[in-house]
């Protein structure tokens, strides 16, 4: 069945089709329609789930963790300041190996108070141990929620589905809503290898001495390293059943490219148009949109970028005193490789400023006219 829905509701439908059993949320800004629709589904019986209203995002995640540990499939959604307030609980989710799936609408951090697109909120949670997927269409958002449960529950690592504020969250697109019976076939009920139950009492998350802490972290990293292959495997399985492939990255005309944009989120869609324009001008351009940001898809990125002489990384975020965060990550992935491209870093679109075809034209002109990296950061669209 096809429906015209906004990105927020694509998250809701994804959670509904995945048969989330416990949903906890704090219903005020920066919350969005994600949980509003889910609360209606719970109220009218469309979704057989417990909806828990809490007093903060910190508590929303805490409620999900308790439920997840008891064996329930859990979902929540947030944004910006709300995600920051969850920070401590994000470590609990990953360290405690609780496969919560959460939607995060990429919104700029305050102050100045902002509700517009910017990736600094989710990228500030880079090191919490969550899997992160960045989406570029409402269809991808819905599909990724279902895939994320499959990946997360297999490895017992939580997942964050990230989408841009407004350009996806409040933009209506045609979305194919998959059949419930097919989704049930793809995603069996959550059956964790351990759980909180009176039948087999255990203490979870207790004091862990230096005798064991490091091994727990080692095991989390080792399981994180299994994610890229599992994303490929579950993405291909998804394609077989639903006709849409969900990989670690999305390549657009990268095969013969001599110049590649590295993008994420909706800017990745705009980049495709920019690539077409460059190709009309005779420049062999391509676009590599990173979908899986954590764990970082090292192999994929290396195999694609080592073939090209020039790369331009676009960041809608900044690590103050360093670079754009995707720029750091791409450079670190290419370091020490036998063939390294020239990698330029650009920052654009902070706080919801539009990233347009013109932005990409400016980026291409800059990168194609230089033979070495001259500036740490190239700013696009700052009123200087």
């Amino acid at each position: 069945m096809k429906k015209v829905i906004m990105g927020n509701h694509a998250l809701s439908y994804g959670a509904m089709l995945s048969r989330a059993q416990v949903i906890a949320a704090y219903p005020i800004t920066p919350q969005t329609q994600v949980v509003e629709l889910l609360s209606e589904m719970c109220a009218d019986g469309t979704l057989n789930a417990k909806f828990i209203k809490v007093e903060s995002e910190h508590s929303a995640m805490a409620a999900c963790l308790g439920a997840s540990l008891a064996g329930a499939r859990t979902f929540t959604a947030t944004s910006a300041q709300g995600l920051a307030l969850m920070h401590e609980m994000l470590h609990w989710a990953a360290g405690g190996r609780m496969p919560v799936v959460m939607g995060n609408i990429n919104r700029a951090m305050a102050p100045g108070w902002s509700i517009w697109a910017d990736q600094n909120d989710s990228l500030s949670e880079r090191d919490t141990g969550w899997i992160q997927f960045y989406c570029a269409s409402n269809q991808e958002v819905l599909d990724t929620v279902i895939q994320a449960y499959k990946v997360s529950e297999k490895l017992m690592i939580p997942s964050m589905i990230v989408l841009d504020a407004f350009t996806l969250s409040h933009t209506y697109e045609v979305v194919e809503i998959p059949d419930q019976s097919l989704v049930d076939q793809y995603l069996p009920p959550f059956n964790p290898p351990w759980r909180l139950t009176p039948d087999d009492p255990h203490a979870f998350g207790g004091l862990t001495s230096p005798d064991h802490y490091m091994e727990l972290r080692y095991k989390l990293q080792k399981d994180m390293e299994k994610v890229p292959a599992l994303v490929e495997e579950t993405g291909k399985e998804y394609e077989k059943m639903f006709g849409r492939y969900l990989g670690q990255v999305e390549e657009y005309l990268c095969d013969d490219a001599e110049f590649i944009f590295v993008t994420s989120g909706t800017a990745g869609s705009t980049a495709r148009v920019a690539v077409d324009e460059l190709r009309q001008r005779g420049i062999k351009a391509g676009n590599l949109r990173i979908r899986l940001f954590r764990p970082f898809p090292f192999e994929k990125v290396r195999s694609i970028l080592s073939r090209v002489p020039r790369v331009a990384v676009l960041d809608r975020n900044i690590s103050y005193g360093h670079h754009g965060i995707f720029y750091q990550e791409v450079k670190s992935a290419m370091y020490g490789q036998p063939s390294q491209p020239l990698i330029f870093g650009f920052i654009a679109g902070l706080g919801g400023r539009d990233i347009t075809r013109d932005s990409f034209r400016e980026i291409a002109d800059y990168a194609l006219s230089r033979d070495r990296v001259e500036e740490e950061i190239v700013w696009i669209g700052v009123k200087k």
């Binding site: 360290g95 405690g96 190996r97 017992m156 351990w194 255990h202 203490a203 979870f204 998350g205 207790g206 004091l207 862990t208 001495s209 005798d211 064991h212 091994e215 727990l216 080692y218 095991k219 989390l220 399981d223």
Partner: protein, 99 residues
């Protein structure tokens, strides 16, 4: 409901033997928190009605029911006094620990 487990320190020799989650690593059993106590609860069993409220409320699970009567496990009781506060018979007194 007496405590049958022995308080021993669990040390895994390899990460392969360990659960991936910090789950019942045994450290709290090994950690005899009774040494933290300044005041200790003492039950006057002549007034006790065996209601089990102290057993239910003890946040450290340091009260066992032995042959229907409550018995405090001083190896772990931190002396918080919750049991004395909740006891409906007021038969638990908090007594100063002697050096």
């Amino acid at each position: 409901m007496s405590r049958k487990k022995e308080a021993r320190k669990i040390i895994f020799e390899s990460e392969k033997e360990m659960p991936p989650v910090p789950m019942s690593l045994g450290s709290m059993l090994h950690n005899r928190t009774g040494a933290w106590r300044n005041i200790k609860p003492v039950i006057d069993l002549s007034k006790c009605i065996k209601c089990g409220i102290c057993w239910k409320f003890c946040p450290d699970a340091s009260i066992d029911i032995v042959d229907e009567w409550p018995q405090i496990n001083y190896d772990y009781c931190k002396g918080c006094g919750l049991c004395a506060e909740e006891c409906p018979q007021k038969c638990i007194t908090m007594v100063e620990e002697e050096k």
